[in-house]
Assembly symmetry: C2
Homo-oligomer: 249 residues x 2
């Protein structure tokens, strides 16, 4: 494995975060201007296809070396502390919609008072709300099933052959078992971790796709913009807190 | 907050790992020699009291700044990838007993063949096995309940007020909301994370205490030695893999 794996992963992530910033400003322009539904849809398609490409590339990189993806050093401590299987909890996308509805309802009050139009997510129809609700239940079910699989995998690590090799180590803590056996067992564990990461990524992507399908183009643009804003703010707040606590990444 | 928080946490952890190495060699000496049950029990008490002190100190440090404890940079990527709420899964201690029973059963075969006595964990009585089994079910129940609480906490992060503040940020991704509001909301989130970490630590400590109560002194010494061996091996294997992949911590 090349000595630059870590920096390659970190660079790729930084490129992705830069793209988030660019996409956010495109989304903001689209919401503020008089953009047609066709134009909005094509912007959404472009953004979703970037997301899909990112997931594909990330999968390839994780297959080469998965463990950093579960607690990436290229994120701040704050971001790492809220990770679920190497990324965002898919159900949190849906929580964001509900949070935005609340914000939008307040904004409409403001609009009523000041005549300013702020957004579209306060206008979800009853049918849309029930589809979002159904999606939330399905997503939480799949999240739970992946969490359980990850838990079993973590427990299995202490079964044979890894426990045997560790315990078979002679004397005070030296790495037990023959080096080849250890490498093989850890590689096998790594493959299972990669499979779970891939499924979590698939669930993240699938959930956003479903949400975009449920929403109108204008609502989807507002949703994607809000998601990216939250993501970028978390990064900024996390960096600031790391600096305040004397942590350098 | 002092600029040296991170290195203080990392140093304290390294001291703890050094103590693990010392304790392991004490445990190995005790198993190999003709140590009396009274002497074994006093060694076990000493080790358990170190564990308790470590948990107390760690809690104090986490209260000052919790987020690094969920994915500590002072561990290797391999160790971080198998963390559960800032540490070992409590149920994995029990999995280790079952793994050791298996090893011990094989070892007794070896003993029969070569006349060498290797350990005591293959000799768990039916009563002990049923107590271990009961403890496992109780531990998994409590683990699940803590996992669910952590999941809710992670989802809550996207509710108001954090989502509102992020979305209210003007323009392209600049940290939204007034800085004081953001700090207050993140501090509140941090306090809840600390509370969960403390409960997870309490469950870890409680589980090991229960195990030691179920086992005879000689079995408990074998169990503690095996646990420390596995822990130290994981650190060594993790460091090696980080080096192989060009990661420096």
């Amino acid at each position: 494995m090349a000595a630059s794996d870590q920096s390659k992963d970190a660079c790729y992530y930084q490129e992705w975060m830069n793209l988030q910033e660019e996409e956010l400003s495109e989304l903001n322009q689209a919401t503020n201007g008089c953009t047609s539904n066709v134009e909005l849809s094509s912007l959404i398609d472009k953004i979703m296809s970037h997301f899909e490409d990112y997931m594909k590339q990330r999968t390839l990189m994780a297959r080469a070396d998965v463990s950093p993806y579960f607690a990436p050093t290229w994120c701040s401590s704050l971001e790492r502390s809220v990770l679920w299987i190497g990324g965002c909890r898919p159900s949190s996308y849906i929580r964001l919609i509900y949070a935005l509805c609340g914000i939008e309802i307040e904004s409409q009050l403001t609009e009523f008072l000041h005549g300013v139009r702020l957004g579209s997510l306060g206008q979800l129809s009853a049918r849309q709300l029930s589809m979002v609700d159904e999606l939330q239940r399905k997503t939480i079910r799949e999240e739970r099933s992946l969490s359980t699989r990850l838990a079993s995998l973590q427990e299995d690590l202490l079964d044979n052959p890894i426990a045997t090799m560790a315990v078979a180590a002679s004397g005070g803590g030296g790495g037990g078992g023959s080096s080849d056996n250890v490498e093989a067992a850890l590689d096998k564990h790594g493959h299972s971790m990669t499979a779970i990461l891939e499924e979590a990524d698939r669930l993240r992507l699938g959930t956003v796709k479903e949400i975009v399908r449920i929403l109108t183009p204008r609502q989807a643009v507002d949703f994607l913009a809000a998601g990216k804003k939250v993501r970028l703010c978390m990064q900024e707040w996390g960096k600031k807190r790391d600096l305040d606590h004397g942590r350098i990444n």
